[in-house]
């Protein structure tokens, strides 16, 4: 590596040209970068919950939905609001990604009206009403129909929804964009109408979109702030640019490689640039600080090589441990997380390579500032003096420090132990975001936006038997009484409805048809009355499979997780031999949250172990390795404790965040401990070694963490809740782990040195 650095600093222009060429090659691949926002792809495609959902959806032709709704506090049943419903429906039907004939709306879904000798089959809103009276007549018409009431139309008539299924193989991005653009292009309603937006397609589309647009918006600001802080510290624009350039180049190589390998960007991999920015900057800041301290004595080339030789050990160590930590993520069963781990590790390797190529080439071409002449290697700055004082004070009372640390550890461990794992995709958006607000309103006014399917499997034709239908009806009633369950609908409701309509529309006849023949004939009527898909989502053509549509009142994974065992029990209570599988989006969501978080935590454990082993191998001491892991352990526990105390839970982005801590906290510990060790090995006493470690490495660590923490705090201004959390918590982890790292030498005095290593290192 030093050889590489020597060559680069001797032939800087050649080195820079080569790197530029490589970077351009990777950059040219970037436009081909594909994006995959489908949440389902987070879970392996052979996971039982995913297989079940896909099986049910395939069998019944169920597709992911775009949900639009018109809400008006004075009621939607007036000519203008209903016209809006129609226009929204027409718009959705006109989109190439939407299956037009399967759009469910007041203007498209048939209602059957039974008269003495006639059946009128037509959508309730076939013609726009002229006046309020006609509009209210439509409301009265749909209210008695369970397929409209609380499903498309709220009980109080204040919300009317439109459900548009996405055609197979369509990209949700384009739909999301088309719908969002259309809605924002509409003039503001003067009659109090509000358009609500929901549905899996829109939520997932918005997730990817807001994450990317926020990163694009805030990313440059983060870089600019980091630059300003670095300029303030180095008081030199060229020097301040270098760490940022190396970080950006490593991002370009990594994202270019992703694209070259034809791997799409998933939600977690969106975070790679941020990660690399944080991790990549550290090495350069460290190197420049050491290089600067050498002043203007000696030529640039020699000084550079000496500086590099001084820090090659900590830099290599930190890169190896961080990369190893991320590579450990590759055992994750979740593909996006696997990619996240592997490609971040690749980026770290690139950053490491750049430290020995780009950096020496760049620095050897750059004139050193004249003021460096006054910088003496042993002259200390204000911060260094403060640190020394602090170190002296601390060294006097290691007992107290230990007590404080242990108390903190116990406290955070207690907090962390109570952490819940949950997931709520809608919570990715902040209150005030149309998706967040819409979901809340739709959950309250309609039957609930989160779906769980009860898949009933029985003998061919058995679903025409009144006895079984009766049992399903009872099961359905029992399920709808469970907490957090909204509306439950099934073929039973359709049959009861058709029975009533055929029998003079008498509410007393809203019961299941009496005989198997009657059921079969009414199914034929339902089939004859509309698109086959209208019936297909409830029951299959051979009448041996049916779906119970269970709408949940909140989108938390824990809601579905708690409900599943109760549902299974009810199914065995009410049905004899029929098999019922409960699955669908809510189940997959729960399974995915559990899986992502638990796999993330277990790969974190593995990363931990790997880092520990690497450290042990280097220090040849369990205790030293443990000591180096202390800041990481404590800051991780701290993250979890903060979550618990603030009433939050671990979800997928936060589980990913834990890896960031891994990337940083160990680095800081290694910088400080390594300094201390080499001072001790050089024969210094504990006190002086500690002073040196704090002054020479501690100041860099503090500086580094402060700069990055400020940079990351900017993410707080994101509209996207996970980015805010990541910004805040990363800043916290940075400061917290830096502070704990500074305390490490204090305890190191109690540890013995391996003589063999001592000898080796002093060579």
């Amino acid at each position: 590596m030093i050889w590489l650095a020597r060559k680069s600093s001797l032939f800087p222009k050649v080195a820079l040209l080569l790197l530029l060429f490589m970077t351009l090659a990777f950059l040219s691949r970037m436009p081909d970068l594909k994006v995959d926002d489908e949440i389902l792809n987070m879970i392996p495609n052979d996971h039982p919950a995913r297989l079940l959902q896909e099986k049910i959806e395939e069998e019944f032709g169920i597709r992911d939905l775009v949900i639009l709704a018109v809400e008006n506090n004075k009621g939607v049943f007036n000519p203008r609001s209903l016209e809006r419903v129609k226009l929204l429906t027409d718009f959705l039907q006109s989109l190439p990604e939407i299956i037009p004939e399967d759009v469910v709306s007041l203007t498209t879904t048939d209602n059957i009206i039974g008269l003495e000798n006639e059946l009128i089959i037509r959508p309730p809103l076939q013609q726009l009403p002229e006046n309020r009276k006609d509009a209210l007549a439509i409301y009265n018409e749909v209210q008695s129909n369970p397929l409209f009431n609380n499903r498309i139309v709220s009980e109080d008539g204040k919300v009317v929804a439109v459900f548009a299924p996405l055609a197979k193989g369509s990209t949700r991005q384009s739909v999301y964009q088309a719908v969002t653009e259309h809605i924002s292009s509409l003039p503001v309603a003067t009659n109090g109408d509000r358009i609500l937006v929901s549905g899996k397609v829109m939520i997932e589309g918005a997730l990817g979109y807001s994450m990317r647009s926020d990163l694009r918006r805030l990313g440059p600001i983060v870089i600019a702030v980091l630059l300003i802080l670095l300029v303030l510290y180095f008081r030199h624009i060229g020097l301040a640019l270098l760490p940022v350039i190396t970080a950006v180049v490593s991002v370009i190589w990594t994202m270019g490689l992703l694209s070259a390998l034809n791997i799409p960007v998933y939600l977690p991999t969106t975070l790679i640039p941020v990660m690399l920015l944080v991790i990549g900057i550290t090495d350069e800041v460290h190197l420049i600080a050491v290089y600067r301290r050498m002043g203007l004595n000696g030529d640039r080339h020699t000084n550079l090589i000496i500086a590099l030789q001084r820090i090659i050990r900590p830099i290599s160590l930190t890169s190896i441990t961080t990369a190893a930590g991320f590579i450990a993520l590759s055992v994750s069963p979740i593909l996006p997380l696997k990619h996240f781990g592997l490609f971040t590790a690749f980026g770290i390797a690139v950053a490491y390579l750049l430290t020995f190529t780009l950096t020496p080439a760049y620095l050897s071409l750059m004139q050193r500032p004249k003021r460096w002449a006054q910088l003496q290697e042993n002259k200390s700055s204000v911060m260094e003096q403060r640190l020394t004082k602090w170190a002296i004070n601390l060294a006097k009372k290691p007992g107290k420090v230990a007590v404080v640390l242990i108390t903190t550890a116990v406290f955070v461990a207690w907090g962390a132990s109570a952490t819940r794992v949950d997931e709520n995709w809608v919570n990715r958006f902040k209150p005030g975001h149309v998706l967040y607000d819409s979901d809340a309103i739709l959950n309250q006014s309609l039957g609930g936006t989160t779906m769980l399917y009860g898949h009933i499997i029985t003998r061919s034709g058995a679903l025409k038997e009144p006895r079984l239908l009766k049992q399903i009806e009872q099961l359905q009633t029992a399920i709808s009484q469970l907490p957090k369950v909204g509306k439950v609908t099934s073929i039973v409701d359709l049959l009861k409805r058709s029975n009533r309509v055929l029998n003079n529309d008498d509410p007393a006849n809203e019961v299941l048809p009496a005989s198997q023949q009657a059921v079969a004939q009414q199914l034929l009527l339902l089939e004859a009355s509309g698109d086959p898909n209208d019936l297909d989502i409830w029951i299959d053509g051979r009448q041996h499979r049916a779906v119970l549509w269970i709408q949940l009142k909140d989108p938390y994974a824990s809601t579905a997780r708690d409900l599943l065992p109760q549902l299974k029990k009810l199914a065995t209570d009410y049905l004899d031999t029929e098999q019922v599988d409960f699955g669908g989006p809510a189940d997959v969501n729960a399974a995915m949250a559990d899986m992502v978080v638990s796999s993330q935590l277990s790969s974190l454990g593995l990363s931990f172990t790997v880092v520990f082993l690497v450290l042990m191998l280097l220090y040849r001491s369990v205790l030293w390795a443990l000591l180096a892991l202390l800041p990481l352990t404590l800051s991780l526990l701290m993250v979890f404790a903060v979550l618990t105390l603030s009433g939050r839970y671990i979800d997928i982005p936060l589980a990913v965040l834990a890896s960031i801590s891994l990337g940083l906290a160990v680095d800081y510990a290694i910088y400080v401990l390594d300094r201390y060790r080499s001072a001790r090995i050089n024969g210094e006493q504990h006190y002086h070694a500690m002073q040196q470690a704090l002054i020479k490495s501690g100041s860099i660590v503090l500086l580094n963490s402060t700069i990055l923490a400020i940079g990351f705090s900017i993410l707080v201004f994101s509209n996207f809740a996970p980015l805010t959390a990541i910004g805040l918590l990363t800043a916290g982890v940075l400061i917290f782990s830096a502070l704990i790292s500074l305390l490490l030498p204090l305890f190191a005095s109690r540890l013995s040195f391996n003589v063999a290593i001592t000898k080796q290192e002093s060579d």
């Binding site: 032709g61 006109s94 190439p96 299956i99 037009p100 004939e101 048939d110 000798n117 006639e118 059946l119 009128i120 089959i121 037509r122 076939q126 055609a167 197979k168 025409k464 055929l502 029998n503 048809p513 005989s515 198997q516 023949q517 009657a518 059921v519 079969a520 004939q521 009414q522 034929l524 009527l525 089939e527 004859a528 009355s529 509309g530 698109d531 086959p532 019936l535 053509g541 051979r542």
Partner: protein
């Protein structure tokens, strides 16, 4: 100036005449299909096969009676199989100048109900055919253009492009292959509002019965859903003297043998 104007007018007139002639040809062909002599009446056993994307099949058997009077057509469909649906019957009165009339008889209800309001773009009894596509659509409802004359499975055919006049129609246009020999539709393709092929109808078997070339097997495929319906007509006979009384709604509750 006047000369130019005259030339312009003449050209415009000529062009519009050519266009009209073409339109007219295509419309004539479609009208010939509509008006082809297929006998006064007809009786057939229909086998309806619904095949879904997984290849799972559902079978239905019906008796079909038809009576025609000029362009007015009456059709009675009566289920024979499956047993649950036996004697369930549907009656369609197809009018050239107004909406079709329909009645349904459900044996368990013991009542004939008139069905109204259902849209003609809806699928018929859960098949892949809509009411329109089963013959309910009149030539006057589209603007026809003769696209080409070509060969289809060894038969000389016209290919006609028909654009619906009404804007609610789910299709942008339809291609029809009409046999030159006898005005019979051999193939149809339906293109959605984004110009994508949505459905394809193909004649699978053509047979001359009582000197009338007759389609006795055809299928409709829903391309995106990969769902198909095959209709086979067996024991088809023309001019059997089907009593038009059987095609009256009041007689729908009396099963025919």
């Amino acid at each position: 100036m006047k000369v130019y104007y005259l030339i312009f007018i003449t050209v415009v007139q000529l062009l519009s005449q050519i266009a009209f002639a073409q339109n007219n040809d295509a419309t004539d062909i479609m009208m010939a299909v509509e008006k082809r002599d297929v006998g006064q009446d007809e009786r057939a056993d229909v086998l309806m096969l619904l095949i879904d994307a997984d290849g799972e099949k559902r079978e239905r058997k019906l008796i079909r009676l038809r009576c025609s009077e000029g362009r007015e057509e009456k059709v009675r469909l009566q289920f024979q199989f499956p047993p649950d649906l036996r004697d369930t019957a549907l009656l369609l009165h197809d009018h050239a100048d107004r909406d079709d009339d329909r009645w349904l008889y459900l044996p368990t209800l013991r009542k004939v109900k008139r069905i109204s309001g259902a849209q003609k773009y809806r699928n018929f009894l859960g098949t892949d055919f809509t009411y329109d596509e089963l013959g309910g659509r009149e030539p006057e409802e589209d603007i026809h253009t003769l696209e080409s004359e070509e060969q289809l499975d060894g038969k000389a055919v016209y290919r006609i492009r028909s654009v619906p006049k009404e804007k609610e129609n789910p299709y942008e246009y339809r291609l029809t292959w009409v046999w030159k020999n006898t005005p019979v539709v051999l193939k149809e393709e339906y293109y959605d509002r984004h110009g994508r092929l949505k459905k394809r109808m193909q004649v699978l078997k053509l047979k001359t019965i009582q000197n009338i070339p007759t389609v006795i097997k055809r299928e409709m495929v829903d391309i995106p859903e990969n769902h198909r319906t095959v209709l086979s007509f067996n024991n088809l006979k023309y001019n059997t003297g089907v009593s038009s009384r059987l095609l009256h709604p009041r007689k729908l509750n009396r099963p025919v043998k």
